[in-house]
Symmetry: C2
């Protein structure tokens, strides 16, 4: 190999830069690799030749450590999907032109399932026209919804942030001697992994969250109101975790379906979010003090409370991706295979990219309790190893230090 | 002194339990003190005799350390205001009955300006009827709006959480190569201290937040839109910090005034919050990608990223409160007097409770820039010492450990 290149894509996480650091660390071990390029803003940066020399930019151990612990994507991201190369070869051919110009022998794309689609299309195109350029996908997503991997880098840190924050919100919710309901809205679109992970708090003796609702189960407002009333018999301060992507039995999103009647002064449809909607349901049907909280983008960027396990694994899977390309693999996504829970052990393997691209892994139905409002002990055992260990965030003047390209 | 008692009141903070720990630590030094009682849910718990023996509950160094680092109020809180004792002595007399029953010689009330009103009324009543029971106020509020103290315990930790989180949101906002606006809504009702504190990020080289709007300046939508457009000339990702309590020139709250037209399916007035409203303004008048984020209760309970300076000061001011009562003071609030910025030095003093109760300290107008959308370097110098130092959060199974009574 002469040169290699990396790009990042999709939504940010707290561990995506650790995978980039892993590739840089592994590359040093291979004398044949001359340059490690980075393309800015994913495949968009490849097409527009917005290229940086990562070896020159990240040239000290200190910078490498900072990069590893900096949230979001140091190279920037995009949401671009490649056209199918069988229908339209122009884009793939343009990418090939750029790779050949910079003598790039291997390309690593760190991203979620849309990005794996790019890895699939590019690797197929290169094979078809007889080019030996390797294309490897490095998984990342806080949603944990990629197939054929036990979990995804970025998820553990998001889960650790969510568990820590929900625990602090529980303390906050308990202060007044009156009945209250706190609804916490958690990311994950159509996969409930991150919302479900709040269940780990029970392992440390918390009774909350008392109710957990996932998009994998159809949502019913009457059952929700009954569930809340039942919990209020035992708990003054009921805390509820809800996935942003809850849907009714007919498939409509709960937030969207109901709020469409409300219009603001500009005439916009009022999509205030699921939490706000459920807050109004409780206000209306139960009438107690109620608050909704959206954890928002902090779930994907709160690197100061990242999981050390997640950051180290993200680094290792990046490094393993480079090793796989050097051993001749292409059209693969790197994946975690969990060998045991206790002690926690994972192997890093490669899986066929076509088995992963454009697919989603849901939270398993048999890890949801019979009432559809909580998770099982088996699920807690799955989550626990992923949130272990704390990083030491580099600080300056009382604030975190971030790496910037 | 035979027995003393403590209660907590008002909204939670990350440092309010540190003040409780400070009282417990100081009490051990005075052999005359037999019992340290805690009343649950503030003055409400006094009236209803919901009492615990803190000396027995917090009986190890480990528990004391846990208490110090646990967010929210371990004793619970209330929002009750005492009737004026000159009009209605019944409540004060009932409190006296409880204090005499438990031989309580000094009462410490940790809270904000409503709680200082209780300290004022109780201490006056005891003086009037010739009782020697001491009543001392220990300040706390993330709003930093108490008079006659340089700052309030709890504020530094809230400011450190907000600075850290806004910095991470800045990283998150920069990922895509397109124009975007991110609006971050920060607590503080009618005082802009916490929102203003985001300005410290410039000290570490961040350009954002690019705009800061405080309730101390009347808000104008046209100027806001122009400000955003001006910032967009230099920055792809514009980040804006806004105080929840922004008001128009006529005194109306920005969020409330405008949204009153929108009604949801239950017929509720739509108070979606200021951030959501400004998000729609940007969508409508500028049309770029825009997101609003409410930092919500995490600002007052994210103790895992508390300021060590704040936690240590909260502890010291609690301890000093007990020492003041022993030396005979009553009807006082403990206060910080900043002696110098560099090196940072504060003295703990007592101030007359009537100079504090029911008053609010605004963010100074001469610390706001000429355009009314940012803060001055003098303000940054004020904020910086308060966010210094990190606590080490006790963790178990990857999650924080909290103290519970």
């Amino acid at each position: 190999m002469v040169n290699i290149a990396v790009a990042q894509s999709g939504g940010p996480t707290s561990a995506i830069n650790a995978s980039l650091a892993g590739i840089l660390i592994e590359a040093r071990k291979h004398a044949g690799i001359k340059n490690i390029f980075g393309f800015k803003n994913g495949i968009d940066g490849v097409l527009n030749e917005i290229i940086v020399n990562l070896g020159e930019i990240v040239d000290t151990e200190e910078k490498l450590e900072l990069l590893k612990l900096t949230p979001s994507t140091a190279l920037g991201s995009c949401r671009m999907k490649l056209p199918d190369s069988e229908e339209n070869e122009d884009v793939c051919s343009k990418i090939l032109g750029v790779f050949e110009k910079y003598e790039i022998d291997a390309f690593f794309y760190v991203g979620g399932n849309d990005s794996m689609d790019t890895v699939s299309k590019l690797s197929k195109y290169f094979k078809k026209i007889g080019k030996k350029i390797k294309v490897i996908g490095i998984p990342k997503t806080i949603d944990n919804d990629l197939c054929l991997t036990d979990h995804t880098p970025g998820f553990g840190s998001a889960a650790k942030y969510v568990a820590t924050t929900v625990q602090e919100i529980i303390r906050d919710s308990e202060v007044y001697a009156l009945d209250s309901v706190t609804i916490i809205e958690i990311m994950g679109r159509d996969a409930g992994w991150l919302t479900a992970s709040t269940g780990v708090l029970k392992y440390n003796g918390e009774t909350a969250p008392h109710l957990i609702y996932l998009p994998e189960m159809p949502f019913n407002i009457l059952e929700f109101v009954n569930d809340v009333k039942t919990q209020q018999e035992d708990h003054k301060a009921v805390v509820i975790a809800v996935s942003e992507g809850l849907r009714f039995d007919n498939g409509d999103y709960v937030a969207e379906g109901i709020m469409s009647g409300a219009v603001d002064v500009f005439g916009h449809k009022y999509l205030a979010g699921l939490g706000k909607f459920l807050e109004n349901v409780v206000k209306d049907k139960i009438g107690c003090k109620v608050r909704s909280i959206e954890l928002n983008v902090m779930q994907r960027c709160a690197s100061h409370i990242a999981s050390m396990t997640d950051v180290e694994e993200a680094l290792s899977i990046g490094a393993a991706g480079l090793a796989a390309a050097i051993s001749g693999e292409t059209g693969k996504m790197m994946s975690f295979n969990r060998l045991s829970n206790n002690p926690y052990k994972v192997a890093i393997e490669t899986v066929d990219i076509d088995e992963v691209a454009n697919k989603e892994k849901s939270f398993p139905h048999d890890w949801i309790n019979a009432q559809g409002n909580g998770i099982t002990d088996e699920a807690i055992e799955y989550f626990l190893p992923l949130i272990q260990g704390e990083v030491i965030t580099p600080m300056k003047n009382g604030m975190p230090v971030h790496f910037k390209i």
